[in-house]
Symmetry: none
Subunit: 248 residues, 2 copies
Amino acid sequence: MLKKERQAYILHQVSLHNSVLSTDLSNSINVSEDTIRRDLNELAETGKVIKVHGGALSKSFNSFYLRSDVYNVDNKKIVAQKTVSLIKDGMFILTGGGTTIIELARLLPETLKATFLTGSIPAAYEYAQHPNIEVIFIGDKIAKKSQIAVGGEAISKIKAIKADLCLLGVNAIDTAYGITDNDWDVVQVKKAMIEASTQTALLSISEKLNTHQRIKICDLADVDILITELDKQDTILEPFSKAGLTIF
Amino acid sequence: MLKKERQAYILHQVSLHNSVLSTDLSNSINVSEDTIRRDLNELAETGKVIKVHGGALSKSFNSFYLRSDVYNVDNKKIVAQKTVSLIKDGMFILTGGGTTIIELARLLPETLKATFLTGSIPAAYEYAQHPNIEVIFIGDKIAKKSQIAVGGEAISKIKAIKADLCLLGVNAIDTAYGITDNDWDVVQVKKAMIEASTQTALLSISEKLNTHQRIKICDLADVDILITELDKQDTILEPFSKAGLTIF
DNA sequence: AAATATTTTGCATTAATTAGCAATATAAAC
DNA sequence: GTTTATATTGCTAATTAATGCAAAATATTT
């Protein structure tokens, strides 16, 4: 096998699998690892692959490795924009925290007159920027990680509310596992919020679909609406639709 | 799995869920926690995530507030710095909002272990940045102007507290008029805070001395400590000292 | 203050890289 | 078609990187 052939093969493998191991290549084309390494170095020098310890990575790998501040902002903005249409004047809306909710808060129209109830510091801050929105903060001990109020006080306060709509950014949602999260205190609060609202809408970028975490918030049946950046018809959403969720 | 791939995966997870636990990552990709920790450290070094005990947080999540231009910051910082010395480990401290309080929050030592109770969104946010400080948010309707919770709920919550120290940024203080402010709702909250604390310290840049506004919070006799950027001996402070205030 | 959990540190093990050298193959020159 | 120069490949040994383990030190929780 000629050197060029070999390198072409390597390149092909890289683009196919996004990453290759020197040992694997060495085995599959019966040349020493040294040779592979030399090839990979050459390909790296001419910018065709990214050489790493043990093998190489596809160049396109880089684009998702080096990434800007808020992950997937664009998709989150789409989700937020869709959500805006659910909100009507005069509504009482319970919301969580999370980056998608923050995006939503920023997208709310100036003219909207509604009451937002939240235990999230960043969310409350954003809501408070709007001239016609009334903000009620549900206080208690602040959980550092998530910057939201957690604890019995917050929960009993939430239970005393009857909101028209609950908006929650989800961490993980799955048809089998339901809606899950990874912080016990936060889960308690989210549970209470869902119960305290006549309707609950989940805001989630599609990547979080079909993933799960350790602590369960509720079943899919306990919520009403799922908002993702995907088209309503997307096949990924089918199982959720079948589970009874209204898709936006 | 190559090291970079793994780190990319970690980054992905962090972005997706805002936080990750070392144990979870270790399980899901079958490497030792040591390795995960080393990865997280590397990612933290290059500023991609924030490393915390037990895992890591998304970098984007926390940065909502931009430091804007604050009037007379330097003097406010002096006031804040003086105030820090009043705060001891284990204290329960009720605080208001205001730019001086924010400066104080930023100057608090990392090692301080205390509980801060506040109804101010920006103050709560700052307190929450400190690893050893417990933050209790006193929730209610958020007053837009001042970003603090006001209303009956907040006040009755405050009344249920007995704090060691109340820290208030003052708007106007005068030997004749006492302590005054210009927002009725905020005044109610401040009143309640003073009553709920065994000691009250006022934080004020000297410009605000000998000025008054329309709504009275309390008399000088009802508070204990006055902290300004001036020297303790300054003649401007004499009347306040005579009125029974301890000067810092 | 005791009990747990997490992090740090130093060390051992394995895998991967480098560098120099010899063997072989390829290309160019005669 | 030889011969000479150049490139390529594989091998060895020395070096460096990555990972896991265990004990000690810190944090965190109860």
